[in-house]
Symmetry: C2
C-alpha cells in the first residue's frame, strides 16, 4: 500500500467560515477536517499523539473560531484571550486548528516534528503558541500567572487552559487549584479534556481521580460539566463561565479519546486491543492511516457538500524527506526489562515502580510476573520517589522508572531526601538525552547527569547496548553501595558488538577503535554511533582516534584512565547532555586530580542551549554534534594543538 499525503487546504476552512450555515455545523466540520490534517501530519512525521488531539479538537476549534477574541484582536494584542494546552501532546490537533485559522503557515503544519516545522509539543517560537507545554500538570499554574499579569497590568481578556485528565495525578494541579482560588483569579478558565484514557490504560485503572467536579468545587472553583463533542453544550459552558466573579472556573468536558475515527474511539478501541489503548502515541500503520483518513474525509465531504460548498478538495503533499535509520535495530529498554524480570526471580526484595509509562519503559513484563512487587503510581513522580524511599527504609530495593525529563527534575528534592538516608534505590531514567528529538525540549533530557551528579553517593551509568544494559542493571542491583541512576535510551538504536565476553568493569571504558591521535569518549547508543562514524571519516583523512565507550558517567578507575590516556595528543568528550555537568566535567576533574591534564587539548562537545526538536540528523546538525561537524571540530583542535 502506498500512502499518499493529502492536506485540507486553508482556503477550505475560510469557505466554511463564510458558508451559510449554523455555527455548530461549521465547528463540527472544521474540527473534523482538522482531525484529517492532524492525522496526516502525524503519519508524515512518523510519530505524534492522535487520541488526545482528536478528543480535544472540538473544544479547540470552538474556542479559536467562535469563543475567543484572539483571532480578531491578533495574537500580539495585550487584551487578547490567551489559550494554550497544558498536556501539550495534543499539539498536532492544536497546530491543525491554528492552520485552519490562518495563523500557522502550511510549511510548518505539514512538517510536524521537524526542525523547520513544528515541535512535538507546543513551543512559543511557533506562531499562535502562547506557552510551551508538554510537561504535565504545569498549565493551570502558568495560566494563573498570565491571568495575574493581566490583572496587574489592567489588561483585558481571559486565560483558557486545556488540561488532560491523567495529568490531574500531578500534585501541582492541586497547588494551582488552591492558590488560584485563594488569589481570586477570576479570569482563568481551565478545561479538562476528560477522555478517560492515559498513555494506554484507563485513568480509573492507573490511579483513579474520582469526581473532578466535586474536587474542584471543594478547592474553591466554579465548575460546569459538558459533553466535549456537543457544540451547544460547549458554547453554553463558556457563556456560563464568562463573568469574572473572582472564582477561577473549570469546565469538565466529557470526551472520547480518538474521537472521529470509529476504530480509534474509546472504549471500543481498548476492548479490541485487550485493554490497552493503541492510538495514544506513535503514527498508525499504512492501513490504519488510510482507513482512518478516509473515514474522516468521507464524513466531512458529505457535510461540506450539504453546506452548499461543493466537493471537498484535498491538496497533495509530498512525502517527507527520508531520514536515515542510523542503523537502528536494537531496543535497549527491552534488554533492561528482561534483565529486571530475571533479577526479580532470585531477589524477592526487588520492587518496580512506574509512572504511567510502563510500556515505554518495558517494565510491564515485570508487572505481569510479579504483580505484588510492581507499583503503578500514575503521573505522580514526587509521590513515587518518596514512596520508593519508604520501601527502601523497610528493606526493599526499589527500581524507579520514568522518562528522564520527568524523573530527574520533578522529584529532585525527593531524590535528595532519599539520598540523605543512604537509601539503596535505582533510578532508571528512560528517554535520556537528545533523542528522539521530535517531541521537543520537554521530553529531551540533557540535564539529568547534572541533576543527579551532586547527590551524596550516587553512581550514574548509561549502556550503549542491550548487553551492557543487563550488566549495568546487575551491577546496580548486586554490587553498588549507594543509589544508582541509569540512563536508558528509548526506541530503536544502533547496535554495537562489544568484545565477545564483555564484562562491565568499575570506572572503566571500552575502546572500540584504536588510534593515537586523540581519544573520543562517548556514551549511549546514538552518540557512540556518531563518534564511530566520526572516527571512520577521520581515519579516511589519516587521523586515527580511539573511540571509548564510557558507561560510567561519574566514576573512574584512575589506573585505567592513566593507561588509557597515556599517549593521546588530545581528549574529546561527546555528550548526550549539556556541556555543563556531564561526563566532560567529571572527566576533566578526575584528569586534573590524576595529573592527566597537560599540554593537550581537552574539548567537550555537548548540547548547548535549548535542545532542538526535529529528526535525529536535524538535531545533531543544529547542535554541531553530527559527524561532519565533529570531524571539523576535531581537526581544528588537533591543528591548534
Amino acid at each position: 500500500m502506498t500512502v499518499e499525503f493529502q492536506l485540507v487546504p486553508q482556503e477550505t476552512f475560510e469557505r466554511i467560515r463564510s458558508a451559510d450555515a449554523g455555527d455548530f455545523d461549521k465547528a463540527a466540520l472544521i474540527a473534523d477536517l482538522c482531525r484529517a490534517n492532524a492525522l496526516m501530519t502525524i503519519k508524515r512525521a512518523g510519530s505524534g499523539h492522535i487520541g488526545s488531539s482528536f478528543s480535544a479538537l472540538d473544544i479547540m476549534v470552538w474556542l479559536y473560531f467562535f469563543e475567543l477574541n484572539t483571532a480578531a484582536l491578533g495574537f500580539d494584542h495585550p487584551d487578547r484571550d490567551l489559550f494554550f494546552s497544558s498536556k501539550g501532546h495534543d499539539a498536532p490537533g492544536l497546530y491543525a486548528a491554528l492552520y485552519a485559522l490562518g495563523v500557522l503557515p502550511e510549511s510548518m503544519l505539514i512538517n510536524l516534528r521537524r526542525l523547520e516545522g513544528t515541535c512535538g509539543h507546543p513551543d512559543v517560537r511557533i506562531p499562535g503558541i502562547e506557552s510551551n507545554s508538554g510537561s504535565l500538570g504545569m498549565g493551570i499554574s502558568k495560566g494563573k500567572g498570565m491571568a495575574l499579569a493581566k490583572r496587574i497590568q489592567n489588561r483585558g481578556g481571559r486565560v483558557v487552559v486545556m488540561t488532560g485528565d491523567g495529568e490531574w495525578q500531578e500534585g501541582q494541579i492541586y497547588e494551582s487549584l488552591q492558590t488560584a482560588a485563594h488569589q481570586r483569579v477570576g479570569n482563568l478558565i481551565a478545561v479538562v479534556d476528560h477522555n478517560k484514557v492515559q498513555s494506554d490504560m484507563p485513568v480509573e485503572e492507573i490511579v483513579s481521580l474520582g469526581d473532578f467536579d466535586r474536587k474542584a468545587e471543594l478547592f474553591g472553583w466554579r465548575v460546569i460539566r459538558c459533553l466535549g463533542h456537543d457544540f451547544s453544550q460547549i458554547q453554553r459552558a463558556f457563556e456560563t463561565m464568562r463573568a469574572d466573579d473572582g472564582r477561577p472556573k473549570l469546565i469538565v468536558a466529557d470526551t472520547i479519546k480518538g474521537k472521529g475515527v470509529s476504530f480509534m474511539e474509546h472504549p471500543a478501541a481498548l476492548q479490541e486491543n485487550g485493554g490497552l489503548y493503541r492510538w495514544h502515541a506513535g503514527a498508525p500503520d499504512d492501513e490504519a492511516y488510510v482507513n482512518a483518513h478516509r473515514e474522516i474525509i468521507e464524513r466531512a465531504g458529505l457535510a461540506y457538500h450539504r453546506m452548499g460548498l461543493g466537493e471537498l478538495l484535498l491538496k497533495p503533499v509530498g512525502a517527507p524527506p527520508a531520514v536515515s535509520s542510523n542503523g537502528a535495530t536494537e531496543v535497549i529498554a527491552e534488554a533492561y526489562g528482561a534483565a529486571l524480570v530475571e533479577l526479580g526471580e532470585t531477589l524477592p526484595t526487588l520492587t518496580v515502580l512506574d509512572a504511567d509509562l510502563a510500556s515505554d519503559c518495558k517494565v510491564r513484563g515485570f508487572g505481569e510476573r510479579f504483580p505484588e512487587r510492581f507499583i503503578e503510581n500514575g503521573i505522580a513522580e514526587q509521590d513515587m520517589v518518596s514512596a520508593a524511599g519508604g520501601l527502601a527504609r523497610q528493606g526493599l530495593l526499589p527500581v524507579v522508572n520514568s522518562f528522564s525529563s520527568f524523573l530527574a527534575a520533578r522529584p529532585n528534592e525527593q531524590i535528595y531526601a532519599n539520598a540523605c538516608e543512604n537509601d539503596r534505590i535505582i533510578y532508571v531514567c528512560h528517554y535520556a538525552g537528545l533523542f528522539p528529538a521530535g517531541p521537543g525540549h520537554t521530553h529531551q533530557s540533557v540535564r539529568d547527569i547534572s541533576l543527579f551528579g551532586a547527590l551524596p553517593d550516587i553512581t550514574i551509568l548509561q549502556p550503549c547496548n542491550g548487553v551492557e544494559a543487563k550488566a549495568i542493571l546487575r551491577y546496580c542491583v548486586e554490587e553498588a553501595s549507594g543509589a544508582c541512576m541509569i540512563r536508558i535510551n528509548i526506541g530503536p538504536s544502533p547496535s554495537f558488538d562489544l568484545t565477545e565476553h564483555y564484562q562491565l568493569r568499575f570506572g572503566q571504558g571500552v575502546s572500540i577503535t584504536r588510534g593515537g591521535d586523540a581519544a573520543l569518549f562517548a556514551y549511549g547508543p546514538h552518540m557512540l554511533n556518531e563518534a564511530l562514524q566520526t572516527a571512520d571519516r577521520l581515519s579516511q583523512r589519516g587521523v586515527l582516534i580511539e573511540v571509548i565507550n564510557m558507561p560510567w558517567l561519574n566514576r573512574f578507575d584512575r589506573d585505567w584512565l592513566k593507561t588509557a590516556l597515556r599517549n593521546h595528543k588530545a581528549i574529546f568528550v561527546l555528550e548526550d547532555h549539556s556541556p555543563t555537568g556531564g561526563l566532560g566535567d567529571r572527566l576533566l576533574a578526575e584528569m586534573n586530580r590524576a595529573g592527566l591534564v597537560y599540554n593537550r587539548p581537552f574539548h567537550v562537545f555537548g548540547v548547548e542551549g535549548v535542545p532542538a526538536w526535529g529528526t535525529m540528523p536535524e538535531a545533531l546538525r543544529h547542535h554541531g554534534l553530527d559527524r561532519e561537524s565533529l570531524v571539523a571540530k576535531i581537526e581544528n583542535a588537533l591543528a591548534d594543538a
Copy 2:
C-alpha cells in the same frame, strides 16, 4: 537575667508511667514535661521550632506511650508500628518524647542542633527516628511506601505519619492521597496537626486549604476529626481507625500552635504581635524562656504532686559550649530586600513571589509597598515557578523567592520549562549553602549551583555582603539577558569591606588579599571569611595566598582570569556547595578552555557527602573546610606542587 538550663530527667517519666493514675492524666503530664524539655533544648541550641512542637506533643506522646506497639516490640522489630513526622520541624518535641520513652540518650537530647547531638529536623541516624523529614509534603508518600513494604513482606504494624496543616499546600500531598487510596493502603494513618498557623501567619491568610475532612474523603480516605489536646478524643480516633479496611485514614486533629504556654498560644499570640506569630522558629529571649518554662513546670509540678509522686525535681544541665559568632554582623538578605523595594519604585514590571518565607527572605517590605505586585503563594513552589513563567510571558519581571533547598530542587522541571521559553526570571535562593547547619540536610543547599547550572542561558551569582547583593540584584534586573539565580545567605554573616567604590564587573572576581603562592577562590560571606582566616594563618607561616571573592559562579571574563591567574603556583576553590557541579567545575572548564591548566595544582574543597548538621565550626570541621583543615590541605598541595 541568667538562664539556667534544667532537664526533666528520664526517670521522672518512668515514675509517671508506673503511677497509679489514668492514662489520660499520665499522657497530659508526660506531654507537658516533654514541652519543658523541648523548650529547654531549643533555648540551649539558640534555635528550633516551639509552636509546632507544642501543638504536636499531646498526640506524639499518646502514640508512643499508649497507642503504638513500637516501644514494646522495639525499634528494630519488623512488625512494629512506624511513626514519623513529615513536617519535621516539630523535632524538638519528637526528641523530647523519644527521650521520655527511654529511646534517645540524654546527651543527644540536650545537644539539639549540634553534631554530636540531634539534627534540627529528624534524621534516621538518631535513635527512634524512622524517616528523615523536614522537606514538606513528602511524608504521606513515604509512609505509603513503608506501608506497601509491610504488605509486600507480610509484616504487621501500621504506619502513622504526622503532617502539618500548612504543608497541605504542597501538591505532593494530593498525589499521595490519590495513590494511597487507589492502591488501597489500609495500614496507613495520617494525622494533621491542624494548628492553623504557618511560618508566621494563619494558613487561612497565606493560602486557604478549605475543609480537610471533605477533601480527604473525596480523595478516598476515611476521615475522623478530633481535638488534638483531648486524650479521650485522640484515643477514640485511633481506635476507630485501627481496622485495615483497605482505606487509608486521616485524623484531623484540631490543635493550638504554642499549646501549653499562655503567651505562645494561637490565636492570642498573633493578636498580641500584630498578626504575626513569633514562636514558630528561633529560640525565645531569656525572659520569655524563663516565663514559659516556669509556667509549664509549675502546672506540671502540681499534677505530678497530685499523682502522688512527690515533688517534681529537675536536673541542672550545663550551658552549651560557646560558639564563636564568626564576626557575624550583617544580614545580606536585608540589603537585598531594600534593593528590591528601590528597584520596584522605578520598574513597574518588577513582581515578587514568595512561598511562605516572606520574613526570612526579607520580601515583606516589597509586599507592603507594592501589594498588587507581591504574590504570596504559600508552600507551593512548583505552582509559584510556573506562575512566574506566566507572568514573564505577559511582560512582567518576576523575582521568585524561597529557601534554596526547596526552590532549586522541587520546581526544577518548572524552572527548565520557563528557561526553554527564554523567560526573564530571577530566582533568589535564600538559605543557600551549608549554613546555618543546625536545621540539617533538608535545609542545607549544597546542590543548587549544579541544579541550575545546565539550564540554557542562566547566570548564577552569590554576594558576599550587602553592597554586592544590591549590585547583583541590579545587574540581574537591569542588565542580564536571560534568567538569573542569586544565592543568598540567611542570617547574620561576617561583613566585608569591598573596595570603596565597589563595582560589580561581569565575570570578574575581587582580590581581597595579595599573594603569589596560590589563588583561593571563595564566594558568599561564610566561606569567604573562612578563606580569609585561612590566608591569615598561612601568611603567618610564610605562605602568601590571594583570596579572590568570586560572585560569578558560572560566568568568567577570560581576560581578567588570564591576568588574575598568571603567576600563581596553585589554584584553590572553596565551595559552599558540593565539589560536584559548583564553581570549581566551571572554573576548571574555563581554565582548560583558556589554556590556564598547566603544571600547577588545582584543588576544589567542597561539601562532600550528606551535609553535616551542627554549629558552623562543627559543620566546617566535619567537612574539612575549617581554617585549620584548609591550612593543612593548602600546605600539602603546595608541597606536592
